[in-house]
Amino acid sequence: MSLLVLQDIGKEFGAIRALSHVNLTIKPGEVVGLMGDNGAGKSTLVKIIAGNFPPSHGRVLFEDREVHFTKPVDARGVGIEVVYQDLALADNLTAAANVFLGRELKRKVGPFSFLDHAAMNQRTGELFRELKSETRPDDVVRVMSGGQRQAVAIARTRLARAKLILMDEPTAAISVRQVAEVLDLIRRLRDAGIAVILISHRMPDVFSVCERVVVMRRGNKVADKPINQSSPEEVTALITGAKEAA
């Protein structure tokens, strides 16, 4: 069974063709690196999968059923979560509030329902322990480090019991130690049967956690092969166009 199948996906913005004839299959628990230079179509592809906008052509199948996403909530509904590069956190709220934003736990008191702070803090604390992150659930995000913010954003996807997690440059702005922790986390997501699409510019990250690498150039998929049959040199050549396709 395939988790996600993209068939002949194309996307045009006015006269600009951002994607053409992209086919991609993701299996459950698979970690796929998505690479390409700026403007290669990575972001457009990710936004189509995440439901930010529909493709101009082609079909998207999730768990063998055709899906039509028009907004991110649609994609989240079937089990696709995104960790955005800017992490999409509200700085003025606590870690727990961010993790549970939009799906708060509530307690009924008569006709009113109130936030269940204790339960949300406890669950968030559990998620941070799973992620091995030294982050307090009741700390405000504004005072957190880059790695802690990343943990909050990832904890949010864990909460949703996602089947596919899209990570947009998760290691771009964090310390060396935190990079190792994020990569470790990706491996544990895989072991738990969760598929991950890792969008990254960092060759070492992709080669250390991904099973497969997909390279985009000028809106086309130019390579899609197991990581052990490729090399950083080949991928670099594919990204820059020194090598046409593989």
């Binding site: 999409a88 934003l101 939009g102 708060e104 091995k132």
Partner: protein, 351 residues
């Protein structure tokens, strides 16, 4: 399948936070907020004034201060909701007037008709009409801002003018007095006292308490803060951004309508120029109390303290026999001083 903590090679659980410092208690939470030091400033000012003027603590003067600041305070609560989302509502002063006028006119219209023969119905209908007009104004503001995406400043500035114009047009400039068989009850509800405390103060405190619970203990309140913190993130996580925005403008307008109706009881009439210019005092009160116009910060305590500070200073200048025009100058100075102190404080605390 969902438990990933037991993955092979997992390190021991991290629970000691040895690597993460925590800010000292007096540098976080309420103690580090603008609201806290404005509250401290308010207490100092009140002590100084009671020493300088024996009239300040007289029951008559205190009741006067309490009543005056309650009207502004109630609307400040509503406007604080809007400010926390990162918006602004300039139309509240006009809304106070039109709600008050509508209430008084409907009261006059139903008095003597069949509706009035049933006890209380006439008054309930008039109060409903006043608040209904306010709700409608808030709904229009909210829909224009949330659905169509107009700027809150410009939308509510236009609404300020439209609603004030309507107030003059409907009344042709004449004040409208409440009448009818329930008029005594109306005055009791709007201008009465309970155990010597003006009812307006009680309304303010009850509403502030409810607002505190709503902001900090309901999903709606959390979404209000999230909108002010990062509206895009709120939308991406599935917060109903449009609904929350429309709701805060409705709450703001309803608070204005309610305060306007209370003012009718206080004045005995609803003039078309009721609460002219109040929007600036109200926004000033919210900002002095610690609400941040860029959104994400604010609360009922700040709204009440800000409104009280402005009124205490105004009252102090009156007692000191200083020309009333200087009040306006001073209030402006305090607004800038309050945000200036906050700015210096946050600059010192940011690493």
């Amino acid at each position: 399948m969902s438990d990933i903590s037991q993955a092979p090679g997992a390190k021991p659980e991290t629970t000691d936070f040895s690597n993460v410092g925590r800010t000292a208690w007096w540098r976080r939470g309420f103690f580090a907020s603008q609201t806290a030091y404005v509250a401290a400033a308010l207490i100092v000012i009140m002590i100084v004034m009671s020493l300088l003027s024996s009239a300040f603590l007289s029951p008559g003067n205190l009741a006067n201060v309490a009543k005056n600041f309650s009207f502004v305070g109630i609307v400040t609560l509503g406007v604080t909701f809007v400010i926390v989302t990162g918006g602004i509502d300039l139309s509240v002063g006009s809304t106070m007037a039109l709600a008050a006028i509508t209430c008084a006119i409907v009261m006059q219209a139903v008095s003597g008709t069949a509706i009035d023969t049933i006890s209380l119905v006439g008054m309930i209908v008039s109060l409903g009409a006043g608040l209904g007009v306010a709700l409608l104004i808030g709904l229009v503001n909210g829909l224009l801002i949330a659905r169509i995406g107009l700027s809150p400043f410009v939308t509510t500035l236009g609404m300020l003018s439209i609603v004030r114009g309507l107030a003059y047009a409907v009344t042709e400039g004449r004040g409208q007095a409440p009448t009818g068989p329930d008029v005594d009850l109306f005055y009791g509800l709007t201008d009465g006292n309970i155990a010597g405390i003006p009812v307006a103060v009680i309304y303010l405190l009850v509403l502030a308490a409810i607002m505190g619970v709503v902001l900090h203990h309901t999903a709606f309140g959390r979404h209000v803060f999230a909108l002010g913190g990062n509206e895009k993130a709120a939308a991406l996580t599935g917060v109903a951004v449009e609904r929350v925005k429309v709701a805060v403008y409705i709450l703001s307008a309803l608070s204005a309508g309610f305060a306007g109706i209370l003012m009718v009881g206080w004045l005995g009439s609803a003039p078309a120029n009721l609460a002219t210019g109040y929007e600036l005092t109200i926004i000033a009160a919210a900002v002095i109390g610690g609400a941040n116009l860029t959104g994400g910060v604010g609360g009922p305590a700040g709204a009440v303290i800000g409104a009280l500070l402005i009124e205490v200073i105004r009252n102090g200048l009156v007692l000191a026999g200083i020309n009333a025009y200087w009040q306006i100058v001073l209030v402006g100075g305090i607004i800038i001083l309050a945000v200036l102190v906050d700015r210096m404080r946050t600059m010192r605390m940011t690493p």
